[in-house]
């Protein structure tokens, strides 16, 4: 008896949408792969990020889109790991407690640092962080805990320095995390959103989306430990959270940008379906197509 091993389907469902006629926003002539020449007349241009010179010719070293700024040619990747920028809101996971700092995984190429001096402790900004605080670090944030923070600084080697010096940042406790590729996150002024359905989302720029009953507000006890306030979340809120989470996964699976508008659109358009139906291929592909069409339409109206 002989067996034939067949490969995966010719077109994955998530690609169907991206390859449909709805895609006219991508200029194919500007897409380059590594090793491909970026311009015809290299003497007239300067090479920027993502390019190098081979035999006097400017060549891309990345797979992405060519961008031109006056005489500067650069290549911006379409898909890439998170590269932090100052001011980004990130949802990070603590991976290590070190002397005077926490190491956090922000799905960047290096772990981010959260120094002890950059967290909010009782007593306000002027409180000095002493040895006692250092000893209590692992009580304050343990390995594996999820935090929400802001990027304060990007060091020359690419390490991010985080801070949580605001009530809205800090430890995250009750909610759902969804990991999405960071290139799908659309940056906006606001990354904390309270939705009108009785719950909230934090869209981390590093690709972690946090769905939670209410936005965290760090309140601390006198001794510096977090107040543990686990509450029973009513079932209807829980169901709403799960629906929002499924909607975000759907947007991710069909590579639709994730921002507040796309999440609410997806949520409202998913109403006719059961939550479990959202993960089924037939429903999700139909829904994704409708969502994309709606978003594109809205975009055109804005213009």
């Amino acid at each position: 008896m002989s067996y034939e091993i067949t490969g995966p389907p010719l077109v994955s469902p998530w690609m169907m949408l991206s390859m449909s006629e709805a895609r006219n926003d991508v200029d194919e002539s500007k897409i380059v792969i590594p090793g491909q020449s970026v311009c015809d007349a290299p003497q007239q241009f300067m090479r920027g990020h993502g390019t190098y010179i081979r035999d006097g010719e400017i060549v891309s070293s990345l797979s992405g889109v060519v961008q031109q700024l006056n005489r500067l040619l650069m290549v911006k990747t379409i898909k890439q790991r998170y590269a932090g920028e100052v001011g980004d809101v990130v949802v990070a996971r603590v991976v290590e407690v070190q002397a005077k700092r926490w190491k956090c995984d922000v799905s960047s190429r290096l772990h981010a640092n959260l120094p002890l001096g950059s967290v909010l402790l009782p007593g306000g900004d002027f409180r000095r962080k002493d040895v006692e605080d250092e000893e209590k670090m692992s009580e304050f944030l343990k390995n594996g805990e999820l935090i929400c923070a802001e990027v304060q600084q990007v060091q020359h080697d690419g390490t991010l320095m985080l801070h949580t010096r605001n009530n809205k940042y800090g430890k995250l406790r009750q909610g759902i995390t969804i990991k999405v590729p960071p290139h799908l996150i659309k940056k906006s002024k606001k990354h904390f959103h309270t939705l009108p359905y009785g719950m909230a989302v934090i869209i981390g720029c590093n690709g972690n989306v946090w769905v939670t009953p209410s936005l965290p507000e760090t309140t601390l006890e006198e001794d510096g430990s977090h107040i543990h306030e686990f509450q029973v979340v009513p079932q209807d809120i829980r169901l709403t959270m799960v629906r929002v989470a499924s909607c975000i996964r759907l947007l991710r699976d069909y590579s639709i940008s994730i921002f507040i508008n796309s999440i609410t659109t997806a949520y409202e358009m998913s109403q006719p379906y059961d939550i479990k139906e959202l993960s089924e291929q037939e429903t999700s592909s139909r829904l994704a197509y409708l969502i994309a069409a709606r978003l594109l339409q809205e975009l055109q109206q804005q213009k």
């Binding site: 091993i5 490969g7 995966p8 389907p9 010719l10 994955s12 690609m15 949408l17 991206s18 390859m19 709805a22 895609r23 926003d25 991508v26 194919e28 897409i31 380059v32 792969i33 590594p34 090793g35 491909q36 993502g50 190098y52 081979r54 060549v59 070293s61 990345l62 797979s63 992405g64 889109v65 990747t77 379409i78 898909k79 890439q80 790991r81 799905s107 190429r109 290096l110 772990h111 080697d157 690419g158 290139h183 799908l184 659309k186 940056k187 699976d253 069909y254 590579s255 639709i256 940008s257 796309s262 994309a292 978003l295 594109l296 975009l299």
Partner: protein, 240 residues
């Protein structure tokens, strides 16, 4: 049984300088940064690339990123059932070869203190396994958006009575036939990997190398088209 028939055809009906069908899918593994599935005829390979991420401290290099590669074959990939899919001498050798090749393809100095993991799995092995792995890895790296000098392409070539034959199948990869696996960047002259099996007469060396280089260029054309098409599908809808 001769490898090339009197009419100039090989066992599977190809001409000596003809490659097998190349068939690819990209971005299948959504947990990995980049992934690919590649077929050269009946040789089928899956590849996943993770990183660059902050890897093990023992592997960390201060000036560039470490590349860790794992080559494995499924137990049912060959003619005989294998008990050890990875970790045996042959797979370890393949892993090292891939690592060395891609260290010179990837611009490693742009990610100091990081690590990139490459996993290649041969699902069905029908000759030119190493070449297929190089090609699959190139595509996965391009999918992951990792900076490289270019897309590397590879091919295995043999020589029969002074005539080169390209893209060997497992029936042609015999103990007697000398075979060379060559990988070049962008199908040009820059070589990143050469491996020779069995003994080869020195007069045949340049012939085989020329044939292999030409084949690499052919394979590159196939890979470049696929990579470019895939990139368009990758761009987020309503991206900024």
């Amino acid at each position: 049984m001769s490898i090339i028939s009197e009419h100039g055809f090989r066992l599977d009906g190809r001409r000596p300088a003809q490659i097998r069908n190349v068939n690819t899918r990209l971005g299948l593994n959504r947990n990995a940064e980049g992934s690919s599935y590649l077929e050269h005829g009946n040789t089928k390979v899956l590849c996943a690339v993770y990183g660059p991420y902050e890897g093990k401290a023992s592997k960390r290099l201060e000036d560039r990123c470490a590349i860790v590669c794992q080559y494995s074959t499924t137990t049912f990939s060959g003619l005989e059932r294998k008990n050890r899919p990875r970790g045996d001498r042959k797979s370890t050798e393949m892993s090292r070869l891939l690592e060395k090749a891609f260290e010179s393809v990837i611009l490693t100095e742009s990610f100091p203190r990081s690590q990139i993991d490459i996993f290649c799995e041969v699902i069905q092995g029908d000759g030119s396994n190493l070449a297929a792995c190089v090609n699959a890895t190139s595509l996965a790296l391009a999918d992951a958006g990792i900076p490289m000098k270019g897309i590397a392409s590879a091919a295995t070539c043999g020589i029969v009575e002074g005539n080169p034959i390209v893209d060997l199948t497992s029936r042609e990869e015999t103990d007697l036939l000398p075979r060379v696996t060559l990988a070049t960047i962008c199908g040009r002259d820059e070589v990143v990997l050469v491996e020779l099996h069995n003994r080869l007469h020195i007069d045949h060396l340049s012939v085989v190398m020329e044939a292999a280089k030409a084949t690499c260029a052919d394979v590159y054309e196939c890979l470049a088209v696929v990579a470019q098409q895939h990139l368009k599908a990758c761009a987020p809808i309503l991206g900024n």
